[in-house]
């Protein structure tokens, strides 16, 4: 019995591999397995190699798999590229139509999938035959697939259901005939079948909706567009809008306009859009208009590698643009965190009156993962300080001080429509009422007040945790990571711990303001610290040092080739680094 099986299908882009992968991932998730599904793709619409991988496990896995149990190949290129990833007794399933050549020692099942599908009445059954064969090879029962077919195609009529069922059975039969008893046996799932299968982009859009966001303004960009698309599908049901703007400046401009009016609005983009939005982020900082920005980081700079993963926007998110104004940067690493962080972002924006950026990344945004049931009742809409109408009546015309002094740095705002609340929100430096002034004393007071907002991140008197830690109080090695990298680091830590290494696991949850005190405590408690990130300069490690976190025993483990870390890779590289580490200081 295996605790995990890995399935991969390879072929050309545009061959319809995604629906096949989708069926496989969806059904396994519904059975109660933990699923993590990802693909390799390039920036073109048709042609070019693509492959989809689905990890099916008895426990949570949220990083790419080291090896594959079953490879379904729709062309020879997929075999040439991917057969090397098969486990020792891995199996290759290939369409005989392209006369597949298997590498020596690899067990191959072949069938003329296209011809069989035609026999069954429709060439589209080809993919379902592959799914049936896959289930058989991996030791997953066919019944849940049949139930899924019934649910999905039931309204298309009995013939379609029967056709798909026959295709599933045909596939299973081919595998049985050619393999006999060989194949894999996946252990039973833990029985929880109420979990969701979500990408980070979907999770964030849903979290935003739950938090009252009713407007998404965005410009299409890989790998963030799905936020706009998901909102376009769902938001109108709740009176909301999703508008494709003419560029990223327009996108953030519209979010700021909506925020000024008092709505909860957001935009989603990637690095190139973040670069374009910098000036407007400054405007939001200066005018203190709440706004939420999702940055789905990809390999930069410039066009970089649009379909490849990276975590290299940290400094741009925190310090980009001219001048100095506070921004809050959150870092979700799992599907659940993506959902709740999106909601948190709106509450923080309304309470801190500044841009709140969700530092997502391609790995989190695009890859499907099993997510525990989401509890919308945990999401409370907290509008933050808004002056009340009675007070405005009392103050009278021209008396409202939108930018009044305050201990926390945040002053109550008025919303258009509120009588006597009229004020000027300007990107030019201004006094308490919003009136423009370049008075030096006022300038210092305003700069200090805005900066003061980020002294402490709290909602309703409760601190927002800046990081999560799991492990011994004084670990041998402390591993620090953020974003989707956390999935691989958590898996790697599991491997190292099983070998007896004392590992502490720290996931950054807020990148700005950086929880420097907590980090200092962790770093000084550990014998050595490794900061793991997908960029070439160690931006998180840099931020830690800039925030006066002791750095003598801190090293960086970096990867910037466009691919995500794997768990086994993290374990191997940490093992190497620990082995090569100088003797611990006394």
């Amino acid at each position: 019995m295996l605790s995990e099986v890995v399935w991969r299908i390879g072929g050309e882009q545009g061959q319809g591999l995604d629906p096949t992968s989708d069926v496989f991932a969806t059904v396994c998730n519904r059975m109660g397995y933990w699923v993590y599904a990802y693909k390799t793709f390039s920036s073109r619409i048709k042609g070019g190699h693509t492959d989809f991988t689905v990890r099916v496990s008895q426990e949570r896995r949220a990083s790419p798999a080291p090896r594959v149990h079953l490879l379904v190949a729709m062309d020879q290129e997929s075999i040439d590229l991917l057969a090397k990833d098969l486990v020792e007794d891995g199996i290759l399933l290939a369409d005989s139509g392209f006369k597949p050549q298997a590498p020596a020692g690899v067990t191959m099942i072949t069938a003329d999938l296209t011809a069989m599908a035609r026999e069954l009445g429709n060439p589209v059954y080809r993919n379902m035959i592959a799914v049936g064969a896959s289930a058989q090879v991996l030791g997953i029962p066919l019944e849940p697939f049949k139930e899924y077919v019934q649910e999905k195609f039931g309204r298309k009529g009995e013939a379609v259901v029967q056709g798909n069922w026959a295709a599933l059975e045909r596939g299973a039969e081919i595998a049985r005939q050619q393999l006999g008893d060989r194949g894999f046996r996946l252990g039973k799932p833990d029985g929880k079948s109420d979990r969701l299968l979500l990408t980070g982009n979907e999770a964030m859009t849903l979290g935003a909706l739950a938090a009252g966001c009713r407007a998404v303004f965005a410009y299409p960009i890989t790998p963030a567009s799905e936020v706009l698309e998901t909102a376009a599908k769902i938001f109108p049901r709740y009176g909301g809008v999703a508008v494709q703007m003419e560029d990223e400046l327009a996108a953030l401009g519209a979010v700021i306009g909506a925020g000024f009016a008092g709505a909860r609005a957001m935009t989603c983009t990637s690095g190139p859009g973040i670069s374009l939005m910098q000036e407007l982020m400054g405007l939001a900082g200066m005018t203190e208009i709440p706004c939420v920005i999702i940055d789905t980081q990809r390999a930069g700079p410039s066009t970089g590698m649009p379909t490849k993963h990276e975590q290299s926007d940290l400094l741009a998110l925190i310090h980009g643009g001219h001048g100095e104004a506070p921004r809050i940067v959150l870092a979700p690493g799992t599907g659940e965190q993506a959902f709740y962080d999106a909601a948190l972002a709106f509450n923080l924006a309304d309470n801190y009156h500044c841009p709140v950026i969700i530092a997502s990344d391609l790995g989190l945004a695009l890859w499907q993962q099993t997510v525990e049931p989401l509890d919308v009742s945990k999401i409370v809409i907290d509008r933050g300080p808004i002056v009340d109408q009675a007070e405005l009546e009392h103050i009278g015309r021209d008396g409202f001080e939108r930018y009044a002094d305050s201990e926390t740095g945040v002053s109550p705002r008025s919303l258009p429509g509120m009588r006597n609340g009229q004020y000027l929100a300007t990107g030019a430096e201004h006094g308490r009422t919003g009136k423009v002034t370049e008075n030096p004393a006022n300038r210092v007071r305003m700069m200090d007040r805005r900066a003061r907002k980020l002294q402490r991140l709290q909602l309703n008197g409760q601190d927002i945790p800046g990081l999560l830690y799991n492990g011994p109080a004084a670990p041998e090695v402390l591993l620090i990571s953020f974003g989707s990298t956390f999935g691989a680091v958590e898996e790697g830590a599991g491997i190292l711990r099983s070998e007896g290494m004392s590992v502490g696991l720290c996931q950054m949850r807020v990148l700005n303001p950086l929880p420097a005190e907590d980090l200092t405590h962790l770093v000084t408690s550990a014998r050595q610290t490794i900061v793991i990130e997908n960029n070439s300069t160690g931006q998180l490690a840099y931020l830690m040092r800039a925030n006066r976190v002791p750095y003598e025993n801190v090293r960086s483990l970096l990867k910037y080739d466009g691919t995500l870390f794997r768990g086994d890779e993290v374990a191997a590289r940490v093992r190497e680094m620990v082995g090569a580490a100088p003797a611990a200081r006394v």
Binding site: L206, E246, A263, E279
Partner: protein, 291 residues
Amino acid sequence: MATATYTPADYKTPEESWWCPGCGDFGVLAALQKALYELTLPPENVAIVAGIGCSGKIGNYINSYNVHVTHGRTMPVALGLKLANRELTVIAAGGDGDGYAIGMGHFMHALRRNADITYIVMDNQIYGLTKGQTSPTSAHGFETKSTPAGNIEHNVRPLQLAIAGGATFVAQGFSSNQKQLVEILKAAIRHKGFSLVNTQSPCVTFNKVNTYAWFKQKLVDIEKLDGYDPTSRIAALKLLAEHDELVTGIVYQEAQPTFEEQLPGFRQQGIVNQDWTIPPAEFQRVLATFR
């Protein structure tokens, strides 16, 4: 609802103006304040989005909700504002540089969207606040600090661009013709959809060519033309081409559904005034589609 009565002073802020004496923008400001007053719009229900440049100061002097944004971005900010609360009267204002140079991309898309926004451009054919460089509406040959040998580019023709871009209301006013400008602005604000009001607003400091006297001599009042039909796109384009856009009055107007009216599921009540809570059972139904 109780009917509030307003005085002209209700549309003014205590802030002292900062424009040069004689600036055309005074006329636009006064006309806009008068138009708001005559339309009896509650000041708190008016939101003005102003751009960068001398003209961008207009919001400072009007008692309304004002956002003074980054250079060239009035259009998207106004759209977001309007969609967040469609119950508000949303007015964008800025100069020729803000709208037709750095903001040109947004301008074209605002035209084709037709959201219910009024856009007032205070056009003076010069960059005044940066002290005298060429503008997109500067004529060919115009000498400025940045074009000492004369402008070798041709000027933008905003009114024809607007009509070609799908505008449903296009007008031009002259800041010293208050009576007409007030009527144009009232019609523009009342118009359901996007309205462009280009105003000739002379810069008395840096533009010694396009002066009040020059405009008085050149501008043709559309109302004085016999049989002009502002609902005809062809007639409008012909008029503008014949007079090199030196006309005042409502050039073109047509009734088209607004952006807001066409948004699927969009409600009459402003988003900000709606209840945002989604009952948990309903939300679970949304989540169930992600299984």
